[in-house]
């Protein structure tokens, strides 16, 4: 398995594309993720048709209207006589594109009826929209937590490698301690001592900070290794000889050399932290309803009835796979690339 720069580029493009899809969730998804429809709990996914029951071909794709079966509340049947043609770029629920630009146009939808491509959950909320919006929450949590982790890691690791001495010993003992504690248990433990019932935004920030702050030790150790060898290189020594200050040396000469290590860590940490958020939310310790996240979308599967009767509630788990594929392949292709700075651990 040779990994070429060409392949790395292809992976990057793939990652950017799927992130753009999630970023533009408001536009791509036809409905608001928290809009309920009490008449349609657990509606199954719809199939897009071109040919109707009479065998007639239609250029405009359509779905059939789902009617609740007699004497049932969650069993649906396609009404083959009523077509719901899909419209492209219709007006719908208002949203903010990228969180700022107010808009009402969606990629697709219909004025003639409800289109739940991937079905609905127990409150009749559109699963397709919830998966996209949930991706925003989970991925942002992963990204921000990675940022927090790397910020602390680079700060401590850089200082520890550059200054050495007692700063180094204290920082590295602390890092060892953090690595010795079981990560997921620690995450749970820390989460246990924070308030359980908080607003979604507060819960989101709490999770980001907790996940990020607990994961600093690995990047710190790596950055320390690079800084340790970087400060002994000739041009850094020369700059120090000319009287450059510590902050200048760190900023201009030492930290830039850690760039490749940090990039690799980004690709490794993001999926790990997204998974941490998903796990926490799945277990009810993370982002609370009604805000969607991949984790709390899956949490309904803890009920046996959902697991046995509504298979489409499993779809959010599959939505994660392309992202993990992208990040993991990217990290392995970055690790294969010859590093500019020699890393010693």
């Amino acid at each position: 398995m040779k990994i070429t720069p060409y392949k790395t580029m292809a992976l990057l493009v793939f990652l950017i594309l799927i992130h753009a899809l999630v970023l533009a969730a408001g536009f791509v998804s036809p409905y608001d993720p928290i809009q309920q429809d009490r008449d349609r709990p657990y509606a199954p996914p719809m199939t897009i048709h071109f040919v109707d029951a009479a065998g007639k071909f239609h250029i405009r794709p359509f779905v059939y209207l789902q009617r609740v079966r007699e004497s049932s509340f969650d069993q649906y049947q396609d009404d083959l006589t009523t077509r719901i043609p899909l419209r492209f770029f219709p007006k719908g629920a208002s949203y903010r594109l990228l969180g700022v630009i107010p808009a009402t146009r969606h990629l697709f939808g219909s004025q003639d009826g409800i289109v739940n491509l991937l079905g609905t959950d127990g409150y009749g909320r559109d699963l397709f929209s919830r998966i996209l919006y949930g991706g925003q929450v989970s991925l942002l949590a992963g990204l921000l937590a990675t940022f927090v982790s790397l910020f602390i890691g680079v700060l401590i690791g850089g200082a520890s490698g550059y200054f050495g001495g007692w700063v180094d010993s204290i920082a590295m003992r602390l890092a060892e301690l953090c690595l010795a504690l079981p990560w997921l248990y620690l995450l749970f433990g820390v989460r246990a001592f924070l308030p359980l019932l908080v607003s979604p935004l507060k819960a989101f920030l709490t999770i980001v900070v907790v996940i990020g702050a607990l994961g600093w030790s690995r990047p710190a150790r790596l950055v320390r290794g690079v800084a340790l060898s970087a400060k002994e290189r000739d041009f850094v020594r020369a700059a120090r000889g000319f009287g450059a200050s510590h902050s200048y040396l760190l900023r201009r000469h030492v930290l830039p050399q850690t760039k490749s290590v940090i990039l690799t860590q980004v690709a490794i940490l993001i999926p790990q932290y997204v998974l941490a958020e998903v796990t926490l939310s799945f277990l009810g310790l993370g982002i609370p309803e009604p805000a969607p996240s991949w984790g709390n979308l899956l949490s309904s599967l803890q009920q046996y009835s959902v697991l046995s009767s509504y298979w489409w509630m499993y779809l959010p788990a599959l939505a994660m796979v392309p992202f993990f594929f992208g990040y993991l392949s990217l990290s392995s292709s970055l690790q294969d690339r010859p590093c500019t700075a020699k890393i010693d651990l």
Binding site: M1, R173, E176, L177, A180, L181, P182, W183, L184, Y185, L186, F188, G189, V190, R191, A192, F193, L194, P195, L196, L275, V278, T279, F282, L283, G284, L285, G295, L298, L301, Q302, Y304, L307, S308, W311, Y314, A317, L318, M320, V321, F324, F325, L328
Partner: protein, 320 residues
């Protein structure tokens, strides 16, 4: 020997520091187990104060820590509010279930991964190796939680094996053989999940270290002397590749208690994971601390065992 003594001291200090850190985290906690009782009009404020005093919650942190240390020495690890009993017996009961599951699955995982890894390093560039690396890549990309829920769903739909719990209702009345069979059937799902999630990482590490060892000149020299391939692989390359694998094995040992949390919860295996989760939601302070520290103890011990094994396996460390 001095090396081992130093590693042991190191592990001991690490564990001691972990107890302090975990206790410090609890000091950050807003509220405690009895806060929700305040809303209950049937419980008077006096009772609450008395309860808090009884459990030492009104004392400063240092005192609480010392009291807890004392109870650790007595083998109690503090007192559970919700169960109204010492923590250690509660934890040990759950830890036993967890270990039953994880020791089985770790053994299985290594027994499968070792031949697979060595074999795929030997035949790298052939279709067998491509198959192994391909399957591990796919397993690596599917998040644990997706794999767990997916298999659970298959189990529920096909009814091939039981979902949830450790024993069937009324299994106490069965014979020993039937009870073991019942247990094995219940363990099948969580154990499969643990083996599958561990597999790609183990295979990758084993494959890359064996492949690296095979490239070395002494292996080639041995090959030139006409030593059979099988002997070359298992007697020459594998010991040379052993060091990172021993560290990895130590890590596997260390993760025995903490590695299966999610899968235990998903498949409702009555182990430490669901117990800890319940304690977190109930704010049962000492159970949480006990759970975290018990699994820390395992991690630290696992690393120490890896150090001992390395010392035993690698003469270079002994002479250092």
């Amino acid at each position: 020997m001095r090396y081992l003594a130093r590693r042991f001291l190191h592990a001991l200090l690490l564990f001691a520091a972990a107890t302090v850190v975990t206790f410090l985290f609890t000091a950050l906690a807003p509220g405690n187990y009895f806060d929700e009782m305040r809303l209950n009009p049937q419980i008077s404020p006096q009772t609450l104060t008395a309860l808090k005093a009884h459990y030492d919650l009104d004392k400063p942190l240092v005192v609480r820590y010392l009291v807890w240390l004392e109870s650790l020495v007595r083998g109690e690890m503090g007192y559970s509010f919700a169960y109204n009993s010492p923590v250690a017996p509660l934890l040990l009961l759950r830890a036993r279930n967890t270990l039953l599951l994880t020791i089985t699955s770790t053994l299985l995982a290594w027994c499968i991964a070792l031949p697979l890894g060595v074999w795929s390093a030997e035949y790298s560039t052939q279709w067998g190796d491509r198959l192994v690396t391909g399957v591990s890549a796919i397993l690596l990309v599917i998040p644990d939680i997706a794999l767990a829920l997916g298999l659970l769903m298959i189990a529920v739909h096909t009814r091939w094996f039981p979902v949830g719990g450790m024993v069937s209702v009324g299994s106490e009345a069965l014979s020993f053989a039937a009870r073991s069979w019942d247990l094995a059937r219940h363990m099948f799902l969580p154990a499969t999940l643990l083996v599958l999630t561990a597999q790609p990482i183990l295979v990758r590490h084993i494959r890359s270290s064996v492949a690296e060892a095979l490239e070395q000149s002494f292996v080639r020299a041995a090959e030139a002397h006409g030593i059979p391939r099988r002997r070359l692989l298992w007697r020459y390359a594998l010991p040379a590749a052993a060091n990172p694998l021993i560290s990895l094995f130590g890590f596997s040992l260390g993760a025995l208690l903490s590695g299966s949390l999610l899968i235990e919860v998903v498949t409702s295996w009555p182990g430490l994971g669901p117990f800890l989760l319940e304690a977190i939601l109930a704010r049962d302070l000492y159970v949480v601390i006990g759970g975290v520290l018990l699994s820390t103890l395992f991690l630290v011990t696992g690393n120490f065992i890896a150090d001992v094994l390395l010392f035993w396996a690698d003469p270079r460390i002994q002479t250092e």
